[in-house]
Symmetry: C2
Subunit: 171 residues, 2 copies
């Protein structure tokens, strides 16, 4: 799938089939995140790839809209230094997350980011060091519904119009 | 170009040929950013697409490593609410930036993010509203050197090893 098509067709997927991802698919997704560009090439991320169902269920309860993690074939917790260190950390985390999601989409695997609102509970659950933080995790899995590209669904995930978003040369 | 190849081959490009991008290329890049996923589909971004050489030159002087903007065929200033509002703003800005850069790369167009360290000067230059902020801008243009995928260059932009970045189930 070319990049243009992947970007144009990608939809948020929050319901997944109960089938695992292959080891190749898992590696492909994680390597995509690992290869993302970052400020000064710092790569300020660790990824905890979670396939254990109990851990996924527990993590899904640590954010208001994170419930979709419970049904994911894989969750990826993005672990970074705290945002206070520099604003590029979350920007770069977003770049790596976009790479992972597009790489997954090319393989027919859906995804959705989830905000983690209880980072200390997540630290207990996942065991990452005190000097690092979790802001978000991603769900991955084969879409439960084949209908995710229906116009009705597209509409609910609609984007602001080009002229509302883009300015030329000055605001 | 498929997504996997785009991600595997993409390199940071900071030196550009002195030729403009076509209107189609400009639209393709900006639409890619516009289509990115974001928390609650808030799309917390405006893009100022800058092709005016004087504005690019001035913007390039507002960050320590932003010099490459001066030679870009197009700069894209990413304008968002301030990060203090919620941490997903910079994460989502990063997702949109990754989409723009991958869409460009598919067309043979290189790119590089630049951190803007003097946001108030940038506001004067670009005229965006007081309640919004600029953290980063992206340079786009055709690579000056065809040698960006040489091993030597790849090495300087090397990535941390898989096992250093990825953990399974728990840290």
């Amino acid at each position: 799938m070319d990049v243009k098509t992947a970007i144009a067709t990608k939809r948020a997927v929050r319901e997944f089939k109960n089938i695992p991802l292959s080891e190749d698919e898992v590696s492909e997704i994680l390597n995509a995140g690992r290869r993302a560009q970052s400020a000064k090439n710092r790569q300020p991320w660790h990824f905890i790839a979670i396939r254990d169902k109990e851990i996924l269920k527990s993590l899904s309860e640590l954010g208001s809209f994170a419930g979709h993690l419970a049904g994911a074939a894989m969750g990826v917790a993005i672990i970074t230094p705290p945002q206070e260190k520099r604003f590029s950390i979350l920007f770069d985390a977003g770049q790596s997350a976009a790479y992972m999601q597009l790489a997954a989409w090319e393989m027919g695997i859906g995804s959705c980011p989830a905000t983690i609102y209880q980072p200390e509970e997540a630290r207990q659950l996942l065991g990452f060091p005190d000097d690092l933080h979790i802001y978000l995790a991603l769900s991955f899995g084969y879409p439960l519904h084949e209908t995710n590209s229906r116009p009705a669904v597209v509409k609910t995930g609609g984007r602001r119009k080009f002229d509302d978003v883009v300015h030329f040369d000055r605001w």
